[in-house]
Amino acid sequence: MNTDELVEMLKEKGLEVKIQSKMAGVKKKVERKSLWVDVERDRLKEIVGLLVENAEEFPHFCVASTSDIGDKVEINYHFTINFGYQLEEIQITFRVTIPKNDLWVPTLTDIVPATIFSERELREMTGIEIEGLPDKRHLFLTKDFPDGVYPWRRDETAPKDLNKLYEGWKE
């Protein structure tokens, strides 16, 4: 399916789609587009399942990234579909916003097995609980990293014990 069909399908489900674009190429100028969709937490599995059913080949999951915005946390799931043809890939991102006092999301590993590493990393770096995740060990931080310290957050849980070597040099 192309971009217009995908936007139509998401609009029928009541979702707003924002499109960002930038020109690329020198002799043959082509537009590079990316789609950004806001999804509620309860509908996340339904919408990702819809993408898996309707795409021509299994959609490609890139990574899940997160931002800390005050008292809420945003999670972006980056997918691409329609690869294999010249210059026709569609980059689509689903964004879920959750409040910090209710910090959990459902797992996507039963629909898209490629999300297992991303979800383990989200869990250790931001403290988000992933409901239904089979493997809850640390991925990149060591086993004895202190609990309750989350490197990607910007509030009181950010790491404070830094390896500062050059403190006091100017004095």
């Binding site: 020198v26 299994f58 026709e88």
Partner: protein, 404 residues
Amino acid sequence: MKYEVPIGPIHPALKEPIMLRFSLEGEEIVDVDVIASQNHRGVEWIGMNRNNPVQSIYLAERICGICNFCHPACLVLAVEEIVDIEVPERAEYIRVIQSELERIHSHLLWAGVAAHELGFDTLLHYTWMIREKVMDILEVVNGNRVTKAIMMYGGVRRDIKEEHIPKIREMIEYYKKLFNKVAKLFLEDKTIKMRTREIGILRKEDALKLGTVGPTTRASGVKKDVRQDTPYFAYPDFDVEAMTPDIITGETIGDTYDRIVVRLLEVKQSVEIIESALDELPPGDIISEEKVAKILSRIKKAEGEAIGRHEAPRGEDIHYVKLKEGFESFYTWKVRAPTYSNIMSWKPMLMHHQIADIPIVAASIDPCLSCTNRVVVVKNGKERMLTGEDLHRLSIQKTRRLKK
């Protein structure tokens, strides 16, 4: 009865520290577990809290020393989309040439390492000697062999001058003459075929479901290549096609031999792209804004988010950047290197194989764990440490046994 064998972080088989845990039943592997926390240096945290955006380009280069053009390239693509910086035409062509030069050096490096895992040290020395030609060109054009610092928001920092072009053309001729010889050395050798044909098969459904990228997935028949699918730099002018092994061998199985074929085809493709880019190099500026302080103040006033993707030698590389007005560093920066997605494919590839096959299959996805950020084999309840030297020795012994 199950055994588990741990392969601890420091071992000479793979040049980077990673812990692997394999479960064996008899001599066959039934489960693989990866513990990769030895290489985590907190790069994203440094970029979000301590560095200004220009310092983060130089930090992004040192995420990986082998594929050190792809990370600044993705970062610059993402920030240029948010801030809407124009890039001159000559800079886009120079970016394509630099990216293809890096692809040639990385694939020749990998070919040497793969030969070393099989016990062919002569091929290691031969391919690394051939690789020195492209390292000479990188040094002449950029000033340094590794970590070149060529990317900047709005263009590139160094130009390809008139006196460099004859040397680059000489390198192109050198590689064109040698391609058939290297292909014959790797693809028609009976022992390499015995060690790699039907070993480490990754089927197409597994490759799609696990989200693998790069030559690993193209060898299984999935046509994914960011240069073909998404327009960026000057790649739409070249009509790049994803290389799959049926171009040379006529069929796609998805084993280790196919991955060697795909990488050799890509070296040939890169040499052809550099040649046509040099023929059509447009004149003009190489950067749209020369003063670094002006670029920094423009970035500080911008707000938005974007993703940047690039085809590194190992696969698709993606960076996500979010900028907030008034904030000097990036507000959010997420890096996902290609080996991150490919490591999960070790499990279906290594099932029901022997321990001696581990080095060549593990090296066939071209793991760059410093990009990812990281083998323990448990044998029947008793923990026995197998060092990398043991693994390497087992692999060479299997080659000798097959040769008899």
